[in-house]
């Protein structure tokens, strides 16, 4: 099975604000492998290094050492991002544009022809159910609608790898269900999905494999079924055990 996303001994250091001396290690020797056509859940508590990993993968942040690649191409090269789609946790789009204009803008960036762009935009607007609002400025949209525009822009180039940063955060149960359905549909189409989430039930439902990081270090990486079988517990319990959480209520 071909590896689509890979990090080798990835290390990221920040100048520490708290202590005058030295640096803070955000990622320490992270080795990740994401195979083609799998849904991969990237888990960890807040501050574990999930977003830092995504920042490196998307070329926003250079690693201190180690390497990261997408489709075998170093992430520092823009061409590595030609076949990916990225959905940020919050909606960061030009709010004065309409959904249709925003999608057309991204379609031009990917070099889609006018006809291709028209077809793709029509299909995506239907997929995310925004037909009634496609010609309205994004600033008039609700949070859920903006998240769906985000999903549509992530899919505009028909990517082979999708990177989602907490795609269901802040959505109502129906919105979450829709996102989950879309991830499932992408999986059925043979796409690779790499996403971070705090919703462990959701991860357990849709993911083939997961990685759990804590304090910048990879704690475990493997298939959901194996992990659950090995620990004889659900993913939430596995997660809490791995990060060493002990409930204070028990004592």
């Amino acid at each position: 099975m071909s590896v689509i996303l890979q990090t080798d001994k990835l290390r990221v250091e920040y100048p520490s604000r708290e202590s005058r001396q030295g640096t803070k290690v955000a990622l320490n020797g992270l080795d990740l492998r994401v195979n083609a056509s799998e849904v991969f859940g990237f888990l960890g508590p807040n501050g574990a290094g999930k977003t830092t990993t995504m920042n490196v993968l998307l070329g926003f942040l250079p690693p201190t050492s180690g390497t990261a690649s997408l489709f075998g191409i170093d992430v520092r090269q823009p061409i590595a991002r030609q076949r990916i789609g990225y959905l940020p946790e919050n909606t960061y789009y030009y709010k004065f544009l309409t959904a249709e204009e925003l999608l057309r803008f991204y379609a031009r960036i990917f070099g889609l022809s006018q006809t291709e762009a028209d077809q793709r935009i029509e299909k995506l607007i239907k997929l995310v159910e925004l037909g009634h609002a496609a010609k309205r400025p994004i600033k008039t949209y609700s949070k859920g609608m903006q998240q769906r525009v985000g999903l549509a822009q992530a899919l505009i180039n028909n990517p082979d790898l999708l990177i989602f940063d907490e795609p269901t955060s802040g959505l109502d149960p129906i919105g979450r269900m829709k996102v989950r359905e879309i991830i499932q549909r992408l999986k059925n189409e043979g796409k690779t999905v790499f996403f971070s989430s705090h919703e462990l039930g959701e991860v357990e439902t849709v993911c083939d494999r997961v990685a759990i990081i804590h304090q910048g270090e990879l704690k475990v990486q493997g298939s959901v079924a194996e992990l659950v079988a090995k620990h004889q517990a659900n993913l939430e319990k596995v997660f809490l055990d791995i990060i060493g959480y002990q409930s204070q209520l028990v004592s």
Partner: protein, 259 residues
């Protein structure tokens, strides 16, 4: 180039969906019409004054539009975090800078066309002659100058974190160059060393934006600037544009961005 044009399209859309441009156009029109309707002291040269006021307003409005638009581009991308989905696409930071520049420059060009169209109507209906080539030359040179200003402001927007600080500094620098740029060499002559050399260095380093100001030729019907000079001024402006954009890219390419 697709990416650069796509980015510039967004900048143009943003400018024309904001109210700044319309407010400045209406303000320019109102002041010019008000000034034109009054006949101060039965002065026969009222048309000359009218043209002077109108062109001055066009210059101020165009500078406000250029500096205001360029100053907020990259800081707004970072503040509103729209830079992240953008750079998550196969887009380089050089393309972002180039796209922003092209967008601001084209938007200013469109604004200039509207402003000059108004100027042509105002002066033509009063003077009953239409030196369109002179007006075109004045507009072209002003547009080239705005290109230099936009590139300078974009560079400033990467160096300074606050857009308001950048806009103010750039406005002061541009106004300073326009007003005293041409006199700096004379000032240098009156200074002792080493101040004299320092002022000379500044004189030769700054972009001489005042060379693009041919309002007097238009107002007093002094004819055209030789086209060769016009071409050289365009080339001179292009060199400064490239210099500022390159400097901006050098500063931007290493900037750490974190979601």
């Amino acid at each position: 180039m697709n990416t650069v044009w796509a980015l510039s399209g967004v900048v143009i859309k943003e400018l024309y969906r904001r109210k700044d441009f319309y407010v400045l156009l209406v303000l320019t029109a109102l002041i010019t019409i008000a000034a034109g309707s009054a006949n101060f002291f039965n002065d026969e040269k009222i048309v000359t004054h009218l043209k002077d006021i109108c062109l001055l307003l066009i210059w101020i409005s165009a500078l406000v539009i250029a500096i205001g638009t360029a100053a907020r581009q990259i800081p707004a991308e970072r503040e509103q975090r729209t830079i992240f989905p953008l750079l998550a696409k196969p887009v380089t930071r050089w393309q972002v800078i180039l796209g922003k520049f092209a967008g601001c420059w084209l938007a200013c060009g469109l604004a200039l066309v509207v402003f000059y169209a108004f100027f042509v109507v105002v002066s033509g209906t009063r003077e009953h002659h239409w030196p369109l080539l002179n007006y075109f030359q004045a507009m072209w040179l002003q547009w080239v100058m705005l290109g230099v200003v936009i590139a300078l402001v974009l560079f400033g927007s990467i160096v300074f974190s606050a857009p308001s600080a950048n806009a103010t500094i750039c406005f002061v620098v541009v106004a300073g160059i326009l007003m005293i740029g041409r006199h700096l060499n004379k000032v240098a002559l009156q200074q002792p060393e080493p101040v004299q050399s320092l002022v000379y260095v500044v004189y030769f380093l700054i972009p001489h934006l005042e060379w693009y100001d041919v309002r007097d030729l238009v107002i007093y019907d002094h004819g055209l600037v030789p086209w060769v000079d016009c071409g050289l001024a365009t080339l001179y402006g292009a060199v400064y544009v490239l210099f500022f954009l390159f400097a901006g890219w050098l500063a931007f390419r290493r900037k750490t961005l974190s979601v």
